[in-house]
Amino acid sequence: MTRVALVGSPNSGKTTLFNALTGSRQKTGNYAGVTIEKKEGIIELAPGRQATLLDLPGAYSLDARTPDEAITAEMVRGARADESRPEIVIAVADSTNLERNLYLVLQLKEQKLPLVVALTMSDLAEKQGIEVRREKLEQALGVPVVVTSAVKRRGLKELIDEVRGLADRGAEAPVPGPAIDVDNSSARIIERYQTIEATLKSAVSRKQTARDVTRAIDRVLLHKVLGPLILFVAFALMFQLIFSFAKIPMDALAAAVSLLQDKLRAALPPGDFQSLLVDGVIAGVGAVVVFLPQILLLFAFILLFEDSGYLARAAFILDRLMSRVGLSGRAFIPLLSSFACAIPGIMASRTVENRRDRLITIMVSPLMTCSARIPVYTMLIAAFVPATRVFGVFTLQGLVMSGLYFFGIVAALVVAAVLKRTVLKSGTSSFVMELPTYKIPSARNLLLGLYDRARIFLRRAGTIILGVSVVLWALATYPKTEAPRGLDDKAVAAYRLEHSIAGRAGRAFEPLIRPLGYDWKIGVALISSFAAREVVLSTLGTVYAIGYDKENNTALVNRVRQEKTFTLATAVSLLVFYALALQCVSTIAITRRETNSWRWPAFMFAYMTTLAYTMSWLAYRVVTFLA
């Protein structure tokens, strides 16, 4: 099948065009060796004649500076071993910003691949009084040009027609072979811009229009005082909405999971199979799937911020803070994503240009408070922090929760600063980033983006979490022991767990965690949550023989309060441990893929465990002393 590549600068409307051309006929994967998302879709050139459309990562230039750009440059030049060179390139250029966007178009033209230029956002250009004379532009560039608007669905058919024309010609005379080196001497760069200036002079006219909207918005959002204030309010509001809105579908999902468990328990004969299905598979996977609404909501906000052009401004405003600890302003985006989950955060780190800075960003991403920590925090806070009001508006519980978020941020920044000065020593890093014009985010992009996220998340739940749940279930079930007579069902379950492999491991573990204020029961919970922290609650539920109820964890909260060994000091120590420890197999896996070595995930695990252990011990000592 003919392979067509979409190439364009970041913010050029490339992904929107890709979505408009392929609809839902897409699949996402990865390029070999790097976790850079590889998006492919199917387009129909003529009835019954299909072609593959590749959405290459956004690039400003073929002289790559980031891993993302490297992929694009290598693909275009046919320099990747695992992928063949595309036969046709669609160069995407934003009509409202041609002067900058034509730069990459010229570089692409120098590569001598069959090329068609797609001018995106023509509707916006019209609104701004920019008139592009297509024929003149075609003449000046020497390649076909199509005016498109994904929103108005304009020019899509013409673009496909041009691609078909190029494909027909390609069938007669195959594409030239060897890649051409990218000449990036300053003379060459200036020459390209001179070509652009001459081209625009003949092909584009700009009527004086009303005030530029972007400038007007920026006067407020980049204001010295208002800017940071709005940024703070926007993110505070975002988190507030995520926690209050997501609660409704999350409760519904949790109820559905318990209902399913009850139904299966009633339908299947009691025994190992029922237990495996209900307590192993559904309990384990269900505990994770419940977080889907929260993760999607957070992603929705991040996608909206990104699409609108605000995320780049946020990075600009916060750059000073980032540079203090030695990170690039770009690191802000991965760190923000890590509030949902460290995995997308670590994946987003590839926009960080400097390799060492990127590694630092990856190393500290798991310290940001991800949504898997929320249930643990919620339970412990409910058990040990009184629900008193502070200043009338806040509750003490809410403040402790915010405090834990703050703790995660501070930990990440401190570790970043330390790494920058020790293991990953490097000089001042640069930060150069385009601040795109503001745009109204496209609903289609948002929905397709969320769909993608949901799929990735559910796949993870269906593979890693499923596997771990089954293993943990086995560890907590075997070897089977006879419980003494006269105990009720829940006590029998607790007795059996105590004598299972997991229970014995917990006991063997006890001397090691005693200094942190934990007994063997918490030990079992720690072992079970080393793969995924959210599992801890169901394990504690079983250990304390109360049958963990996901709809509300009052039972667990009450039980924990009664436990003699579970003091305030233990709770604080446990909160600190969960804030700092790397209890997530998926994070280890993604770090391995992203850094292409076991060294970095091993280092990450070692430093986070050491940090968690030391800080928890310290917290336990301090709180015991004070209490």
């Binding site: 910003n97 750059d319 640069s430 014009t437």
Partner: protein, 101 residues
């Protein structure tokens, strides 16, 4: 500061007042004269040029980052954020000051 004052008084479009981009304040404009070598990022000048900051093009400081440390400059119709350390390598010939309309 003296440089800035001089530039403000100068009405000539091609003044001879030279400075670094990092030293301009919001609203000040100039023409890119040349690039110095960046020690922390040898390819920085090339990337800046590729982003449109070519020698001879006009450039204006549009915003200073609220907490300092970075500038947003307008060049060829695009807004580009860069750190002061990066802006330090761009030699500018001042054309207009912040006080002018």
């Amino acid at each position: 500061m003296i440089l800035n004052k001089l530039a403000n008084k100068s009405t000539a479009r091609y003044s001879l007042v030279m400075t670094r981009l990092a030293r301009l304040r919001a609203g000040q404009r100039g023409v890119i004269d040349s690039f110095h070598h960046s020690h922390h990022d040898p390819r920085l000048a090339t990337r800046l040029m590729e982003m449109g900051l070519t020698v001879g093009s006009e450039i204006e400081v549009a915003y200073e980052a609220p907490f300092g440390g970075a500038l947003a400059v307008r060049c060829r119709g695009t807004l580009i954020a860069l750190r002061l350390g990066d802006a330090e390598i761009v030699e500018i010939r001042l054309t207009a000051g912040a006080d002018e309309p």
